[in-house]
């Protein structure tokens, strides 16, 4: 049997959250190995258990949660790596909608604020805006972000100031556009980051690097943004 301890909370009915124990017969998994597989079987046992999931292969980022105290994606977390009872909680610091489902609006609000699209007012060329191989390679390690929120919700600075500090995910995305050779709003984007909160609440705690299920390095992207600001000011 695999043992679980799962956070349960329905704000409409419950006065406060509680942890509920579950057990699952390993034979029911029929060789499937990921945490999400087990969670789907638990939901078959108790259909009031709520969590998000979609692609089940680490692309959509919707099943991000705290797994034994570390943020990760249930669909790409092997059960064999987890100590029992497997403790599942919602992403830390986010308002809980129900059980493991959180309101991601504070996270998306910061993401929207960095204008996550190419800004280029130059006349459109006949064909697409081309990049050199070297310029394209600058986007590696950035474009792969799936916006699951594992990094930002593991960052203490984001916990304390989610309304003012962009958080590692939005900052990584910001650098993705700052470094894109096709984007022409570099100066405006840097202006937008130069205040005491939006970028500089990052204290290089590095939880973001440890939490990212795609193996990205938001702390390095933040470091590069600081370098860009420094170069601009000198």
């Amino acid at each position: 049997m695999i043992r679980f301890s799962i956070y349960r909370y329905d704000p409409d009915k419950d006065a406060k959250p509680r942890m509920q124990d579950f057990e699952l017969d390993e034979a029911l998994l029929e060789g499937r190995q990921m945490l999400l597989d087990a969670m789907l079987l638990l939901k078959a046992q108790d259909d009031t258990l709520s969590f998000r999931r979609s692609c089940r292969e680490g692309v959509c980022g919707s099943d991000a949660m705290s797994i034994n105290g570390r943020n990760g994606l249930a669909c790409v977390t092997p059960l064999s790596d987890l100590k029992q009872p497997i403790t599942l909680r919602p992403l830390p610091g986010m308002p809980v909608v129900r059980d493991l489902v959180v309101d991601m609006e504070p996270f998306y609000k910061q993401y929207r604020s960095i204008k996550p699209w190419l800004i280029n007012d130059e006349p459109e060329p006949e064909i697409e805006r081309l990049q050199s191989d070297e310029d394209r390679r600058k986007l590696d390690g950035l474009y792969e972000c799936i916006l699951c929120g594992c990094c930002s919700t593991s960052c203490p600075s984001f916990w304390w100031n989610p309304d003012k500090y962009l958080g590692p995910a939005a900052l990584l995305q910001s650098y993705r556009f700052l470094v894109d050779s096709r984007d022409k709003a570099t100066s405006e984007r840097l202006d937008d980051l130069e205040d005491p909160f939006r970028l500089f609440r990052c204290h290089s705690i590095m939880n973001c690097v440890e939490a990212c299920p795609k193996g990205l390095n938001p702390a390095l992207a933040i470091h590069h943004i600081r370098e860009m600001l420094l170069r601009r000011s000198s």
């Binding site: 604020s113 100031n161 202006d191 130069e194 205040d195 005491p196 970028l199 500089f200």
Partner: protein, 116 residues
């Protein structure tokens, strides 16, 4: 996107970030230099201390060390207050208290080291 003139926003984070790092480098360099100096020429008596610390170079470097240390502590603690103290009135009181404390420390250091 909020449009602002470059560097115009008061209390912009970059300046403090640079100051914190430059002051840290000086504090580190001075500490290493002091450690090496005292191990090469150990101080055994009050007369040795007076001799070691009375030179113009030492006093200037030590005052700069104290200034760097206080600036470093100020930017660090201000950052802590920005993180954790969300009530701006309380934050203002805390920062003013810190400013008074650090000004007193600087004055004391100037009297002791600089002989003001």
């Amino acid at each position: 996107m909020r449009r602002t003139e470059r560097g115009s926003r008061s209390g912009g984070g970059l300046g403090e970030w640079i100051i914190q790092r430059v002051s840290a480098v000086y504090v580190l360099l001075f500490t290493v230099w002091l450690g090496v100096s005292l191990s090469v020429s150990p101080v055994h008596s009050h007369a040795d201390w007076v001799s070691f610390s009375s030179g113009y170079f030492f006093r200037a470097a030590a005052i700069l060390f104290i200034v760097s240390l206080l600036i470093h502590a100020w930017t660090g603690l201000k950052s802590v207050f920005l993180d954790y103290v969300h009530n701006w009135r309380l934050r203002f009181v805390l920062l003013m208290t810190l400013a008074l404390l650090f000004t007193g420390m600087l004055a004391w250091a100037l009297i002791v080291i600089g002989g003001v």
